[in-house]
């Protein structure tokens, strides 16, 4: 097949690309470059977390022990299932199954919203316990180190909760953007914008969703699972 013939068959192919495969690879590379900037963005916060955790371990452990491990674990599971529905949506798009594609996209958005609702309940608990950094912050709990109750400096635990809200809040913002993105894709997919020859937006939005999932995969053990054995 010559290039002209190919173009005639694929209206989504832009004229400055040699063929659809090159266009797809360029879009994928651009998406990955964006994801690398996201890794560095969250990486800065992970680095700050690491430095302060090593400096104030007892305070961080005491703060971590106050988090709801079940809500965190359930949210991890919700995100993993949503990653599976995303990858199945991409597969359905590649096979040209429009209704299946829309179905998986809608389920993904619903799972994303489920995550945010659970997160909201967790945040409410933090407000009720005055664990939100600021003038009303108070922390009276001790670090339970295998039954030994070690008092901690509330100022240092406030650091833990500052990082907790910065990291989970920024992650939640990414989830909100992801839900908006996938809602838009679901509408466009319903209208038949995507064909087996062109579904790059579905693929690239999927990459974004998986990255947000990976960030949570690290946030869960780092924030929720410090010194739980006691």
């Amino acid at each position: 097949m010559t290039a002209t013939e190919h173009q005639a068959h694929n209206p989504a192919l832009l004229h400055h690309f040699a063929d659809a495969e090159q266009q797809k690879n360029a879009a994928s590379l651009g998406m990955w470059l964006f994801l690398v900037t996201e890794i560095m963005f969250f990486g800065g916060m992970f680095c700050a977390y690491l430095v302060y955790r090593l400096a104030h371990f007892n305070a961080f452990a005491a703060g971590s022990q106050q988090l709801n491990i079940w809500m965190g674990a359930i949210n991890t599971a919700v995100l993993i299932v949503s990653s599976v529905t995303v990858v199945l949506a991409v597969k359905a798009a590649g096979a040209g199954k429009r209704k299946v594609l829309v179905g998986y996209l809608v389920v993904t958005v619903l799972l994303g919203l489920t995550f945010l609702v659970i997160k909201g309940f967790e945040y409410r608990e933090k407000f009720e316990k005055h664990h939100v950094p600021g003038p009303t912050f108070s922390f009276t709990d001790k670090f339970d180190d295998n039954g030994k109750q070690i008092p901690v400096n509330p100022k240092e635990t406030e650091l833990f909760f500052s990082l907790y809200f910065a990291m989970t809040g920024m992650h939640a913002l990414h989830m909100i953007i992801g839900c908006g993105l996938f809602s838009g894709l679901a509408i466009l997919a319903w209208k038949g914008h995507y064909t087996p020859g062109y579904f790059t937006p579905i693929e690239n939005a999927g990459l974004y969703w998986h990255l947000v999932d990976i960030i949570w995969i690290y946030l869960f053990p780092l924030l929720y699972l410090i010194s739980r054995h006691s």
């Binding site: 690879n25 890794i39 699972l225």
Partner: protein
């Protein structure tokens, strides 16, 4: 696992199997956190998280089998620069013993 129309796509069953593996690893990491392994608790937790992230990157994000070698290079460089950020920062903060 069947590789068909697209060289970057696996079968539905394979994706679900990866998803189940990820869920099992999540339960494992939560359960292991309640066992006292001393200094190895965070090591095990991060090891399991890294296994999960690797599964997602390779099979859900299709880095394994990507037609462009460049994509793989970009992904590796991202984590490489993250490693520089963290290792050099810690090399500083962990060696301030004079303070």
């Amino acid at each position: 696992m069947s590789e068909h129309e697209e060289h970057k796509s696996y079968s539905q069953g394979f994706y679900i199997a990866i998803g189940v593996t990820l869920l099992v690893l999540t339960i494992t990491t939560a359960a292991v956190a309640f066992v006292n392994l001393g200094p190895f608790n965070p090591v095990v937790a991060l090891l399991i998280a890294t296994i999960k992230a690797t599964l997602v990157v390779l099979f859900f994000m299709h880095v394994k089998g990507a037609s462009e070698k460049l994509t793989g290079a970009v992904v590796v460089s991202g984590f490489f620069f993250l490693a520089i950020l963290i290792s050099l920062s810690l090399a500083d903060y962990l060696t301030r013993s004079w303070r």
